[in-house]
Symmetry: D2
């Protein structure tokens, strides 16, 4: 018999057919959503990815997608080199009454971010920012340990975040620098776990890689955050960890600590006359956060399809993380602790 | 533009809309295959699962599915209480020239299994048995360590296999007993890793659970296997591990050992004034082997769609595992080591 | 001022200045005991070890030591090649009213062991056997978990016991074979942890090393023990683990499991682009059980100096372990499960 | 025969019969040294400890000990509340040509430390400071990994150092504050591992415990060190970790990382239906560093008895660690990064 039960799921438009666009396409499939259209300025790429994921329509023009009446919600995954377009795409989508998921960064400048937030508020659409780590089982479990009082009141927090290797110099030049490109995820994680805002920021850094130094960026840094409630957070970043992606958190509370180790593809240990060893951790964010991306898309679908569900990572969350990155930049430039309010008042 | 690239993937029919049927439906989706029809004697269940997974057609009559010309390959996932039908369903499917994936057990009796193998051989279709653990990243990595000579020639092998709790007594009564129902996976794992056949079997067991004892079965056992090449394997089973599913392997070779620990949903450690603890391992096979099921389906699709690809778990593999289970039963009944050839010659 | 508080501790005589004799000398020092005399047929060795450990007197003749009135208790640590003298030395010491600590084995033959036990009973002296593993912090903690009902009633027990490499063939020839030389420690551990006696034994083994095969011994074995209370124990031995000494235990109970990993000299992990690795476990028994030897000596001193303290590892414990080794030998020779009572009745 | 080989070992005088004095007494015994005399202003305690460790003589007057011609070297382990006497005791001992081992801190003031170093230099005696962690197997192994180029050039370093609970408020009041009392060990560890001097220090801290706040000290802190060679080090301290003593180090280099976990008394894991757990780490420094104390004493004996052996932890090392503590204090007071040279020039 024919199956007459196929109900109409949320209808999504995907902007960007690059690496992260494909990750979200796959995640949306696993989450059971339908992608109606994909847009990418490179039409052949759009067509190929459409074929790969069974997406019915493709276009070179994102505006066509934003204006399509069939589409309920859009994912903005434009490639990094065009992130200056994220803001205008969000505004365009908002004006067409689409709910919006946007990969970080919304923008590198605070006033643009403020404009974007105002546009989505005015349009009454939902805006969710792609801080995917909030959906990782390790960090969700750590948040739960805090919320369920398994470790008592928090006093200190460490976030270790290291990439397996640096991106290209051309990427780095347009990235906004380490703090806005990479640490921004850690700033969000710190706020997510502590549940309060930061008062003061101090950053210490160096450039181990001469190519990165040459373009005026850093690749090795520790950033200290003093939260308003007294919690001290230290984030440490490196662009290059030879053993692969390293994403760990450790929280010390009055009644104990909670910490996570990295994820590995297997739990196998090989013992020989030389060592007791295991394989490297999952190599980079695509491997490490594959399941987190699915959970993130499930959350976005829930936000778009259920009344009264608040956005788990809002535009305001994006702005706060950016503020911390700007404060870290200022701290580094002036070699002094910087109050976040110094920057907040400027905006 | 309309997407004109959607090529026709392998067209699959799914027999059985129960727990494992749904697992495979999900895995096939993730593996990118199309399920054209689902069959289950309970029509409403078939219809509901069809709706859930976007399967176009459903039927109460598996024969309708076997005879459908659109379908290239079938998955036989009939519920356990009807496994006496697995064999006739395979034969029916083979006569209709479908490739077949069959959940274990093909049958509890050796002569029936032989008949099934002959039928698929005669029809020239491929038969793959659902020993899903061969596709788990841990066991694949252990096999790789052996094959790549990381630990030298194998001398000993331990397989730990414990369920989080016993199934219902009614299930146990029709299961064929611990060795044919549960240990059969471990027998297959032993053969997979050692790459040789077993010469002799000795089993020691007890029934901790009085309900299981009452129906004449055991729940706690150690089975020793002496392989023809001298390797000693010990399998240990329990129907009840309070902490959850426990699936580990350890191999000792001339140059070292390789072993795996269980998989956990997270890598979080909570330290308090009482203990340093982590959450329990993934609770049971659905959680533990979710990714292995996807890899298994990918392998089956490859087998069906690529010329010359041999079946990774053949009917003969199913028969050998059953032989070991029968030898273990005989060893337990007569309290003596049993040569596998004693049983091989009977069949 | 002069220190007038130095009280007279237990006065000990040490028989044997070889490797294990020196271990006990060091342990006794750390335990705060005084060794008054050392005996070894190689006088120069005795003199050298006496110098090393500040032992006041030495002799080539153990009988001189046994008859010395100053001495309260003796340690019999004669080298392995002369273990046929352990029994007569114990009897001589008992007749001289010394308490006795004897390294395993007391003897390879059951009737000799019975004679020794009778002699110490008749003399009213205490006899303690050197099953040092009972004093290891890991195994003590596992025993505690069982005794304090952390894991409920025991159902299964695994003992892994592997040496880093085989002893010389000449040692093996006079060792009594794998089960009486090496597994005997594991037999004792099984009885210690289960707290019951064994009903039946089955052994499966092979000789990986041709030199060991040539002298009729085995080097790789699994021994199954069925305890009277139903518990199933499997012991697995290898003479050669490339990564070093491997001494682990895992117990499955109704409410959970308790298991231990090996001990390492450090907790350091090195991560490179090849692996995440740590150094090998402590290489052999001298390193692994250094602290256990001290705790063992402390227990012996307590036994000798405190009224009413029962011997933690008695002559009867030594006899039972030997019985299990003899049963394993018989099982291997006849390839059948052997009731321990078959051997008990012979003695 | 009588043992005529007992040679005269190094003859040591021990000043202080408190907790750490007893630790060193025990360590010296295990290291095979002779303690000739013990001094403590509480004569009964001196007498009791002399009895416990077989020390021939005791005195209430440390000067008697310093002037004793039999004594080659002294250990200064005066209780913390009298650390203001460490300096004058060292000077007194130096004038009497004794080699000196002094527990930290030599003094809380830089000019006093300078005077002490000058006195020992002038007298030509050796001065070793009690930074015991340099002798811990974990930190020795990490140093080795660095020195043997297992992880390439160092870029970042984390030192985690947490106590199981705060000392008494009266202790804290005379301790010199967290940085001079507790972090000073971590400052030394940082210099030990990096092998260079620090250029700049920044400290962020809070007082979680109101009693500690009330006496003007802090209990939770992160200190950043920028080394002259560019290495960034972050030290994190807490006076109260509910799960016990926490002493870990992690180093990131160009070719990988090296890190250590805490030490535990056993390697036992208990798995129930609630968690997979192990016992707490070794509770505090006496348990954790027991073996390090022995290695430290062995090093001191070697320094005193062997010509040309340089002191592994010199007076200059003690001074540098104090400088870093003073810089951290200044950074905290003025909430700015502080150049170490600012303080160096003052002294």
């Amino acid at each position: 018999m024919l199956n007459s039960h196929l109900s109409k799921p949320l209808c999504i438009g995907l902007v960007g057919a690059g690496r992260i666009g494909k990750v979200h396409a796959q995640s949306l499939q696993r989450a059971g959503a339908t992608i109606a259209m994909i847009a990418d300025p490179f039409g052949d790429v759009a067509e190929m990815v459409a074929a790969q994921f069974g997406i019915a329509r493709w276009t070179k023009d994102a505006c066509e997608l934003f204006r399509d009446p069939e589409i309920d919600a859009v994912l903005i995954c434009s490639p990094t080199h065009s992130h200056d377009k994220h803001a205008e795409q969000i505004i365009e989508a908002a004006e067409n009454k689409k709910h919006i998921f946007c990969e970080k960064p919304v923008d590198l400048e605070l006033d643009v971010v403020n404009k974007v937030i105002k546009a989505t508020d005015d349009a009454g659409v939902k805006l969710m920012i792609g801080f995917n780590r909030r959906f990782d089982t390790n960090f969700v479990r750590i948040k739960q340990a805090i919320d369920h009082d398994e470790i008592g009141k928090i006093n200190m927090l460490r976030i270790t975040s290291r990439d397996p290797g640096p991106p290209s110099v051309s990427y780095i030049k347009s990235s906004g620098g380490l703090f806005r490109d990479m640490t921004i995820h850690d700033f969000d994680m710190a706020r997510f776990l502590v549940g309060d805002e930061v008062d003061e920021v101090y950053a210490m850094a160096q450039s181990v890689n001469p190519d990165i130094a040459a373009v005026g960026d850093i690749d090795t840094a520790v950033v200290l955050l003093k939260f308003r409630n007294g919690v001290i957070c230290y984030i440490e970043n490196s662009r290059e960890a030879a053993y692969g992606y390293d994403q760990r958190v450790e929280v010390l509370g009055a009644k104990g600590s909670v910490a996570c180790d990295n994820k590995h593809s297997n739990q196998v240990v090989v013992s020989t006359n030389e060592s007791v060893r295991r394989d490297l951790p999952l190599h980079f964010f695509l491997e490490r956060y594959m399941d987190a991306y699915v959970a993130e898309m499930e959350a976005f679908i829930r936000v778009c399809t259920t009344d009264g569900v608040s956005v788990p990572v809002s535009g305001a969350d994006g702005r706060e993380a950016l503020l911390l990155a700007l404060a870290a930049n200022k701290s580094l430039a002036e070699n002094r602790p910087v109050k976040v309010d110094e920057l907040r008042q400027l905006s």
